[in-house]
């Protein structure tokens, strides 16, 4: 077994109301950072796990992201392996 580290990023799908992002974006505009055109918020989870291979670890993390960390009805997720 080897140790792996993965990051799961979860964000709302297009069209889902995200008041947190809206409020932060409004404040950015008030602070006169007019260069900023859009802003989205996302959740990030960092996981360390043991698995026989990177591919199997990836599968486990994806299942977890699908079953618990995200709600696929309104959120999408991305999984990436990060250096241990």
């Amino acid at each position: 077994m080897k140790n792996f580290k993965f990051r799961v990023r979860v964000q709302f799908k297009d069209g889902i109301l995200d008041p947190q992002a809206e409020v932060i974006f409004q404040k950015i505009q008030h602070l006169e950072f007019s260069q900023v055109k859009t802003l989205t918020c996302e959740k990030s989870f960092l996981l360390e796990l043991e698995a026989p291979s990177s591919a199997e670890a990836n599968q486990v993390v994806r299942r977890l992201a699908q079953d618990l960390l995200s709600n696929p009805v309104m959120e999408s997720f991305e999984v990436e392996e990060v250096a241990s």
Partner: protein
Amino acid sequence: MKSRWAVLKFPGSNGEGDALKALSAYPVKLVEHWHEDPIQVGDYELLILPGGFSYGDYLRAGAIAKHAPALKNLHEVISEGCHVMGICNGFQILLEARLIPGFLQVNSSLKFISDMVDCHLNHAVEPWIRKEDCGKRLKLPVAHRFGNYQVSRVDRSELVAALTYEVDLNSSVDQIAGVYRSIGRGSVFAMMPHPERAAFEALGANDGRLFFDNAFEFLSERGTS
């Protein structure tokens, strides 16, 4: 044999006391069921998932609660004849558990809404709403920030919009306040208003009793109460 009714309790639930009090008006065997104890087929004829903030609403409202041992066999338990009412956070848990399609997003006002609202009964749904109740208006309390229910047209085919708001409260699609789905011999009824907080005249609001009166009558007639 007395009918067995239960109110499920999670860490962070806060509506279980009101629900138990409301249901205590009926001659049934009523219990508070702790989320760590599995529910088996035939344990209960009626189950309430109360309001509150299960697991502090961490991750997403209802997201952690859906993995509770008590909910593991819920689909089968319902299919075999259990009627489940999910109130507020209970609605969110039923969505996360995929027993009801769609999702609840933040109210369009971005505000927490705590108010008495007029709701409309649209359809007869067993055991909660009788045919003769359709068209009635109920005054029920709401207390939520995430009550803006959205569901795709496709997913709606198996749903009944049994309860709607009289006004556009939070931008829910078609002003839906509560949805019903029949599953096998049981059902789920998920709603944002709190009928258990409007169950006694002394509180100045008892319209919520209609659902529980009907459920008791229906289950009694069926011979299980």
